[in-house]
């Protein structure tokens, strides 16, 4: 990632999926701290809470309890303070409707979680590589 000090916000309800992301990031020597919350509501709290640093990227699962990824996106993209944080959807869903909704809400990418861990690592490597090169507004 371009700013190694900025955290990565992972919104994911599945514990092993969270472990997978954490392990892949560690394996790829991504230095950014990983902040993990379990649903959209918790993510909003984390983003709006005092003191916390703005994440450089949000990795978002769609299918979650309490507040789904799409609902989270609807709130975030309507919030002038949060809308510019890039959101990459990381999901099991290959439904056309989910893709349409996500891109209508301005996501920066849409990735399907591979079953194979090595492929997962490759996916995280690509995300990291891209967001290391990409410029971001302050």
């Amino acid at each position: 990632m371009k700013y190694a000090s900025k955290p990565i916000l992972l919104v994911e309800d599945d514990q092993v999926d969270a472990m997978t992301v954490r392990r892949a990031l560690r394996e790829l020597h991504v230095a950014n701290p990983l902040e993990h919350v379990e649903n959209g509501e918790a993510a909003l709290e984390a983003l709006r809470g005092a003191g916390g640093q703005r994440p450089c990227i949000i990795l978002l699962d769609l299918n979650m309890p309490v507040m789904s990824g799409i609902e989270f996106l609807q709130v975030v993209k309507a919030d002038a303070a949060l809308r510019r944080i890039p959101v990459v959807v990381l999901t099991t869903s290959s439904e056309q409707q989910d893709k349409v909704d996500s891109f209508n809400l301005g996501v920066a990418g849409y990735m399907r979680k591979p079953v194979d861990y090595q492929q997962f690592v490759e996916l995280i490597r690509s995300i990291d590589a891209y967001w290391t090169l990409s410029e971001l507004p302050e």
């Binding site: 599945d14 092993v16 999926d17 472990m19 997978t20 392990r23 299918n63 099991t92 869903s93 290959s94 439904e95 056309q96 409707q97 349409v100 979680k113 591979p114 079953v115 194979d116 861990y117 090595q118 997962f120």
Partner: protein, 459 residues
């Protein structure tokens, strides 16, 4: 009544109504003609009575006119007498005409005529005396002659005839009354029968309509339930497939990490077991993907667009990257059809990839063709692979059915089921022609009017 269908009942009702109408008409016709005939007969009888009376009166008139002439000698009386005689003649011939159908009365009329002639002769005889010899001679003849006697007989005959005619008239009237009563009774019975029959029909039909309505309501209810069940099933397939994936992925990842993290503690057997776990996780992932694809067909509709199959099939072949020993070709031009692009791609992709996957010849050939039929396109994918025995031709289109062991050829058993579902959704058919050992041809048709009936999600 119960066994008749509504159509038969309505038909019977109409037939009965028509028959009733015809019968009523016939009855009315008969009654009317009867009435007219009777009326005519009665009128003729009445006229005959009047004529008889007239004849008697005119006879008296003629006689008194003659008497006047005999006494006074005025020519005017003689003319009156001749006029009365002429009128008598015309009344008699009228009478004859009116009673032409009554032989008894005709005989009587004949007799009457004779009597009149007799009487006239007598009158003439007296008149002759008056003209030739004067008043006294005529008076003499008048007093001695049988004139009075003749007149009495004539009167009696006329009375007899009148009384007969009166009887006949009374009988005619009675007959007419009887006929009218019969007709009325007939109408009444017919009306009652019609009412009864039509009531039975009406209630029968009403009951049937009621039953039908009830069945319709039940059917609508059933359709609603089925729709709900179908919707649930669709959602079920989607949710289950989705929710199965997360734990599966976790198992795969954990097995992978064990292999890496515990490498120095695991013996070869342990490593092999973990490898098998990972490979089975992949297989199950493929199966779930297959269910998802299968359940998506028909559930999620995308916009049908004109798809250039020539281009699409070449794209599919490129994406499958067939190995060097298999030549995949498109023979002849392919049309542009209006379909959901994703679906038609799935059809060609599955058929061509199967041909490649199962190829057992050193020089493989796969050919895609299209033959236009009257209102459909017939596509075919032909290979020179192992072929399929006829007894398996049905089975290969069933979900999760494969012919090769999964460890030899990695297959989910979804592909052809998916092809069948897509083709049939478009109103087409899919079938196999195959010679085991020499190859197979998969045919499928696509109606030219094909298109999803519901607008779907736009891509």
């Amino acid at each position: 009544m119960k066994k008749w269908s509504v159509e038969i009942k309505v038909l019977a009702g109409f037939a009965f109504a028509l028959a009733t109408l015809a019968l009523t008409g016939a009855l009315a016709y008969r009654a009317t003609t009867g009435f007219i005939e009777t009326s005519n007969a009665a009128y003729r009888s009445e006229r005959a009575l009047a004529a008889l009376e007239g004849i008697l009166a005119l006879m008296n008139e003629a006689e008194s006119r003659q008497r006047g002439y005999i006494i006074l000698g005025e020519a005017i009386d003689l003319a009156g007498r001749e006029q009365a005689v002429a009128q008598i003649r015309s009344l008699v011939s009228e009478l004859r005409r009116d009673k032409a159908d009554d032989p008894l009365q005709l005989r009587r009329i004949h007799e009457l005529e004779q009597r009149i002639a007799e009487r006239m002769k007598l009158l003439d005889w007296v008149l002759e005396a008056r003209r030739a010899e004067g008043y006294e001679a005529a008076r003499e003849r008048l007093l001695t002659g049988p004139g009075r006697e003749e007149m009495r007989r004539l009167r009696e005959l006329a009375k007899l005839m009148a009384s007969e005619e009166g009887t006949r008239l009374a009988r005619l009237r009675q007959e007419a009354e009887g006929q009218a009563n019969d007709t009325l009774l007939g109408f009444g019975l017919l009306l009652a029968a019609s009412l009864a029959f039509l009531s039975v029909l009406f209630f029968g039909i009403r009951r049937e309509i009621h039953e039908r309505r009830q069945k319709e309501t039940e059917l609508a209810h059933l359709v609603h339930e089925l729709e709900a069940a179908n919707e649930e099933l669709k959602n079920f397939a989607y949710v289950v497939s989705h929710d199965l994936k997360a734990p599966l992925r976790a198992i795969g990842s954990l097995a992978d990490w064990l292999t890496v993290d515990q490498a120095d503690r695991l013996d070869d057997e342990g490593k092999e077991h973990l490898r098998l776990i990972v490979s089975r996780v992949r297989r199950m992932d493929g199966l779930i993907e297959g269910i998802l694809d299968y359940s998506r067909v028909g559930r999620i509709r995308e916009q049908a667009t004109p798809v250039d199959l020539e281009r699409l099939v070449h794209e599919v072949i490129d994406s499958l990257a067939p190995p060097a020993h298999i030549a995949v070709t498109v023979q002849g031009p392919l049309p542009t059809v209006v379909v959901e692009k994703t679906r038609i791609r799935q059809v060609f992709q599955n058929l061509i990839s199967n041909a490649i996957k199962y190829m057992d010849k050193p020089a493989g050939r796969v050919a895609v063709r299209c033959a236009p039929e009257r209102d459909a396109w017939r596509f075919s994918v032909t290979d020179n692979g192992p072929g399929i025995e006829p007894r398996h031709h049905e089975r290969v289109f069933q979900l999760f059915q494969t012919l090769a062991p999964r460890d030899r050829v990695e297959s989910t058993g979804v592909g052809l089921a998916l092809v069948k579902k897509i083709v049939e959704m478009y109103g087409g058919q899919v079938w196999i022609e195959s010679t085991p050992g020499q190859g197979s041809t998969f045919h499928f048709t696509l109606p030219r009017t094909a298109g999803p009936s519901h607008p779907g999600i736009e891509e």
